[in-house]
Amino acid sequence: MEIKKPAIAGTLESSDCQVAVEAGNGTVDFSLDSTVINQFGYQIREVVLDTLKRLNVDNVKITVVDKGALDCTIKARIECAVYRANDITENLPWGGVIR
């Protein structure tokens, strides 16, 4: 999937994360600001890159501001941002690339 327009999902509340995506310049450009970066910096990066791969996104600038979100929330916010960037809101592939 491409990033057709910039999109944001999530909030800066405790246990949540805010994900902002925009078109990249050919790669996955990932930056992270997290309150738990020491303990989960690696884990969060893995989840972000995995999720993007599953969604077939390889050209994106993605910024994550994390306030201690669990993996399931990070995935949810990324998926939401990516689909918003494509203006897709229904007939989503639950259980398919979203899992």
């Binding site: 405790s14 246990s15 309150t35 738990v36 970066i37 020491n38 303990q39 989960f40 910096g41 690696y42 884990q43 990066r45 306030k67 201690g68 979100a69 669990l70 993996d71």
Partner: protein
Amino acid sequence: MINAAGRDIPEEILKITGKEVFQGAYAKDGLQYKKGAPTVRACLNPNRSKLVASITEVLKKCEIRDGMVLSFHHHFREGDYVVNLVMEEVHKQGIKDITICASSMGKAHDPILPMIEDGTVTGIQSSGVRGKIGEAISGGKLKNLAVMRSHGGRIRAIESGEVHIDIAFIGAPTCDEYGNMRANGGKSDCGVLSYAVADAQYADKVVAITDCLVPAPNLPADISQMYVDYVVVVDAIGNPAKIATGAAKPTTDVRKILMADYCTEFVINTPYFKDGFTYQTGVGGSSIASTISLGKIMKEREIKMKFGVGGIAGPMCKLLEDGLIEKLVDTQDFDAAAIESIKKNPTHYAITASEYANPFNKGAYVNQLDFVILAALEVDVNFNCNVVVGSDGVVTGAQGGHPDTAAGAKCTIVITPLLQGRIPAVCSEVTTVTTPGETVDVVITDYGVAVNPRRQDLIAATKKAKLPFCTIEELRDMAYGIVGEPKPVQFEDRVVGIIEARDGTIIDVVRQIKPFQY
């Protein structure tokens, strides 16, 4: 060298400090030693006044010099003005290389930061450091090693002569012109002056700083005139609103109440819960809720507490006033209610910090505790606790009486929510050990209750209790199952501070923080 808490203490640190590694919580039991003593000047001249006009002048009279050790107490908590007042003057006089030996430090002392940065202050010895000072230490800005001690450990260090205090500055809510100090009767009452007594007895020079000079003799004195060199009167020694804080409202947080209920249920099922038991609790929402529900059961079963120890806040005073506690022995007051209580209740007594928790005297009150209820930032599968280093690796809390009470009490209970946001409070290895696992008996979380396998007696006694028992490993696995397995915080190699065990050995070190890198 690996110590008895499983921590590796660099040889270099052992050399610099001349200390041993931690060998066990009770390793030094029976140790014979000679106590330290101050160098004092005889005061025969009946015409000499102790009153000094200003801090500037008293520093000169005390012959302040580079490299001295200055001491302070923290009975004014976040409302303290004394440390900043004194250090500002020290700074102005261009003095360098000062070691601050405080019973604890907090955010109120953030103005000290520039003095650390410019070398005025090169050493800090404290139970805790918070705010900017904590960040500065973790950031490697303090020239010498920071030394973190428990309340009992600090007194041990002073009384044994390991730490020599050049000048003790004691904030006194009331003081007379000859130095009799009281914790009450003025405009910044703090209940007790327990932490300052050893300072008064063992420092070479003792300066009383008060904002309320009263006619002599100011009796009964918490600190006697015979220890005091000088008396300085200032406008304000502290902010009463932050010293005598209002009562915390009882928690409505369901998780905290859940943990409080577990705690009460555990306590009443141990063999120590009988008429005449002794008890100490903290000020967390769960600890207080548990104390209140324990009070109800004490009333029902006609079980009285012989004495309560602390760290005293309103709820314990209420139990005293309701006749459920016979006596309170008090080393610090956490709120206005406690301060009022010690002023009006004849069975609410002040004790010195040495009487409270010094491991090297002939027997402190912590040794007589049946129960202590504590909190912790982290607990690991060996029941070691971390109460000093935060989840970002920065020094942020205080040992307080944690290791002292844990070592002394027959039943040490640590209450903590399993997860603090995404950070598991129960983990495989704590970031820094401050209280050794051998002294911690039970961990109570919102997900379950784990009893230390060293305490088969407690496990057997509480089997029938309606509690979600599990192992500490199961708690850790539950936590990791939800949030994922955390990686340990990355630190630089440089050691910036030591965590001293009660007996003066090194239980762990604190290293400089390192910005996260992949």
